[in-house]
């Protein structure tokens, strides 16, 4: 589609599945709750120094891991293992497991990504069968090197015949895309925990005002990450639109 948006975006209409209403965003001690605990700041306040966000991070680290909401325990273990190989934790820092990318996907499968729920069920199961048939062990039992080689087969489409319903490459690309959303998206959606994704990229964070001095500071490599979600700034509506006839009970965040 030759739209303006295309220069920077390739998939802006790719996930137009419906956004359903549901769940209290502050339920439990998830990311949204911890972020809210950090306290709202005004829409145009000067960004706070990074240190201000640290108590919230500590609260997050101490929070118990909540159960998955949509994936089965088996699916969740497989997905965790996959995202851990796609963006591994290594000497360069935390990966997608620490970023809770699988939790982002899990939550979205009950909402904005619900049309992909079946593809995850079928694909994760096929992945495990392919590992067993080709490497003699289930995916979770494999060494990291073997997990990677299995994922390369899945990525290339080579794992497809007789095991994946569609192309294994299609499954791989879907998971990779969603893993990046979970790693690098706003923490409001349940991933990018402790802003590990943004820190990896060197993204200094969501701001509502960037002065010429801030820009110069960025260019000098001196703009400190502010570690804020969009919804830490007071005043933004979370609903999709204010006056749509059918959107009265719509909530974002799923």
């Amino acid at each position: 589609m030759a739209a303006d948006e295309d220069a920077g975006e390739t998939n802006f209409m790719s996930e137009t599945s419906k956004i359903i209403s549901r769940r209290d965003l502050l339920r439990g001690v998830g990311i949204a709750g911890a972020a809210a605990a950090a306290g709202p700041v005004s829409l145009l306040s000067t960004p706070e120094p990074a240190a201000a966000a640290e108590p919230a991070q500590a609260a997050r680290a101490a929070a118990p891991r909540e159960a998955f909401e949509n994936l089965t325990a088996t699916e969740a273990d497989l997905l965790e293992a996959v995202v851990d190989r796609l963006i591994p934790s290594d000497a360069l820092g935390p990966g997608a497991r620490e970023g809770r990318a699988a939790h982002y996907i899990d939550r979205a499968l009950g909402g904005a990504l619900s049309s992909s729920r079946q593809a995850y069920a079928a694909g994760l199961s096929a992945l495990d069968r392919y590992a067993t048939q080709s490497r003699g062990k289930g995916f979770l039992e494999l060494s990291n090197a073997d997990k990677d080689s299995v994922l390369m087969d899945v990525e290339s489409g080579g794992a497809t015949p007789g095991i994946f319903a569609g192309s294994s490459a299609q499954f791989f690309n879907m998971v990779l895309g969603h893993t990046r959303q979970g790693m690098f998206g706003d923490p409001y959606y349940g991933g990018n925990a402790n802003f590990v994704g943004w820190d990896l990229l060197g993204y200094p964070g969501v701001r509502t005002m960037v002065t010429a001095a801030d820009q110069k500071s960025l260019e000098a490599g001196q703009l400190k990450p502010n570690h804020k979600s969009a919804y830490d700034f007071e005043g933004f509506n979370k609903a999709t639109a204010s006056l749509e006839p059918h959107s009265g009970d719509m909530k974002h965040g799923d």
Binding site: A3, D4, I87, V210
Partner: protein, 572 residues
């Protein structure tokens, strides 16, 4: 049976970039104006800086139940299957001007005279075979005052390059002469923009900051731009983007002569026994209404303009309203923006903040700004080096064959290079052709049972040659600025749905080949006007919105000045 509403002077279908402008001069003149908008209303609070919502999940397009349910089907040619995709526009007060990039270019004088100027300089044989391109019914001089009007009424920032014939080297030396400077200075540049401008100068080119309908400082009591980085498919949280929702529409409402109706999906334009427009029928909350009006202005997007005319059949217009010459849907084209070029630099470029309308433009290779004698195409392209980066998009960057797309090697690559890539925005001359057109899809219907529009169109040889030429120029520019890797996307292909869509109700003096006259009024229905890119017969190498808005103001002003002859004495 539709509920008949109280008569009004003018009904405007669609309150986006075009309709949202036209209502102001109409209401200011004291005409009673009703605007019908399929979407709702949004405010700055709806525009959170949220990449998942804006760019990944397609919000705010998701809020547009009308466009989404009526998305066109697309096929490259008459023998291919047409497939329905997404719709690039949204429904709301302000329409897509709420979240567009807001690049606000005037067309260049050549764009209005492509046929005569090409013939004069290079011979008639240089008009591409099969193209139905015509000169506009007027030249740049005619539209210049309306460009100025929009720049001041809506609010456009920029650097003038030609004021009354005097060239200012800080601006675009190729622009047509303007009578006034922009009301605001251009958006600021970053260190990377300075570097790109320096590289261009080294090549002997003429870099300048592009114009934007975005406040570079406080204007009309609205804030200047905050450069926060969520402008691409995002509305403005401080109303610095001059969508019609915050500029012309509130001023029209303040006259007390204009009323906006939201949630109104127009299903037909009605005609009286004399073949004049009598009003429009719309559905809101499942109920059908008839809004009588003395004058009807259709200002939905390009696709819906043709669609609504084709759907509005009557004994006087059996092939659709204003279509007795068979011209509705003809001369369709979408701007050739494909054939992208991206580059990798060996240093961070500081693009995490800023906006797509902020950057460095090159017009040396646009339109007929360079000699085409020894070339095998006409037209050219605008090169645009902007700021636009967000984290998920950055993580999806091309790895230029230097790393896989996942795993530890990728992680190392992205850690180093997330802020080192740049994608150019390249808009190229695109022409209309005999076999590129819009019509009603024979199969796919919307939930009301009405056929959607079908696009049958592809880029031809001239577009592909322009694109390849422009890609080479962009590579030259990137290399001069220090790029170490270059990637070029394929050129050409099918003309899919686009935010830059033109034609279908083309403007021209000849009713045999055009739907509307030089004032934007139908050749066949004297009290029906058409606003939007659908009246434009050429694209130039720049974004269409400024021209769309200048034409909308001009059509509205024409209606005001000629009210007695245009409006029927009794409407029925």
């Amino acid at each position: 049976m539709a509920t008949r509403l109280k008569d009004t002077d003018v009904v405007v279908i669609g309150l986006g970039a075009a309709g949202g402008v036209a209502v102001l001069p109409l209401a200011q003149a004291g005409l009673e104006v009703i605007g019908l908008e399929a979407g709702g209303a949004m405010t700055r609070r709806d525009f959170a800086p949220d990449e998942i919502r804006n760019n990944v999940r397609g919000w705010p397009m998701l809020t547009s139940h009308k466009t989404n349910q009526e998305a066109p089907t697309v096929r490259p040619n008459g023998s291919a299957n047409a497939v329905q995709g997404g719709h690039p526009m949204m429904n709301a007060i302000g329409g897509t001007s709420l979240h567009y990039w807001a690049q606000h270019w005037r067309l260049n004088p050549w764009d209005f005279k492509v046929v005569s100027e090409t013939t004069r300089k290079y011979g008639a044989g240089r008009i591409p075979k099969g193209s139905t391109v015509e000169d506009w019914p007027f030249g740049y001089d005619e539209i210049e005052p309306y460009y100025e009007k929009i720049e001041y009424e809506v609010g456009v920032s920029g650097q003038a390059g030609n004021v009354n014939g005097k060239i200012d080297p800080r601006g675009n030396p190729f622009e047509g002469p303007r009578k006034r400077e922009y009301p605001m200075p251009p958006l600021r540049w970053t260190a990377f923009h300075d570097k790109m401008a320096g590289a261009a100068k080294g090549l002997g080119w003429h870099p300048f900051p592009g114009p934007a309908a975005i406040n570079s400082r406080s204007y009309q009591n609205r804030s200047g731009c905050m450069y926060h980085g969520f402008c691409n498919t995002g509305g403005c949280h401080v109303d610095a983007k001059n969508s019609t929702a915050v500029s012309t529409i509130p001023r029209a409402q303040a006259t007390n002569h204009f009323k906006a109706v939201t949630g109104a999906v127009v299903t037909s334009i009605n005609v009286d026994s004399q073949g004049r427009a009598s009003g429009v029928t719309y559905v809101a909350n499942g109920e059908e209404f008839f809004q009588p009006a003395k004058v009807v202005l259709i200002a939905s997007f390009c696709y819906e303009n043709s669609r609504l005319l084709l759907l509005s059949k009557s004994p006087a217009f059996p092939k659709g309203l204003s279509n007795n010459h068979g011209q509705v849907g003809r001369h369709y084209f979408s701007h050739h923006q494909g054939g992208a070029v991206s580059a990798l630099f060996p240093f961070n470029i500081g693009a995490w903040y800023g906006l797509p309308a902020q950057g460095v433009a090159i017009d040396d290779w646009a339109d007929d700004n360079f000699d085409h004698s020894s070339l095998d195409f006409i037209g050219g392209g605008n090169l645009w080096a902007m700021s636009d980066r967000r984290p998920i998009t950055a993580a999806g960057m091309n790895t230029y064959g230097l790393a896989p797309s996942w795993g530890s090697q990728w992680k190392s690559f992205i850690k180093e290079n997330a802020d080192r890539s740049h994608s150019a925005y390249l808009q190229k001359t695109t022409l209309p052709y005999e076999d590129n057109y819009l019509d009603l899809d024979p199969v796919v219907k919307d939930p009301l049972g009405l056929p959607v529009i079908r696009i049958t169109a592809e880029y031809k040889e001239n577009e592909r040659k322009v694109a390849a030429f422009i890609q080479d120029k962009m590579e030259e520019w990137y290399r001069a600025a220090g790029a170490i890797q270059i990637n070029k996307s394929p050129v050409g292909g099918s003309m899919t749905t686009s935010t830059h869509a033109y034609g279908g109700t083309r403007m021209g003096d000849n009713p045999e080949t055009n739907v509307v006259n030089r004032w934007g009024m139908s050749h066949e229905v004297p009290n029906l006007g058409v606003l939007g890119g659908s009246v434009m017969g050429t694209s130039g190498a720049h974004n269409p919105t400024h021209t769309v808005q200048a034409l909308a103001w001009r059509t509205a002003e024409h209606i005001v000045k000629n009210w007695k002859s245009i409006a029927p004495t009794t409407s029925q």
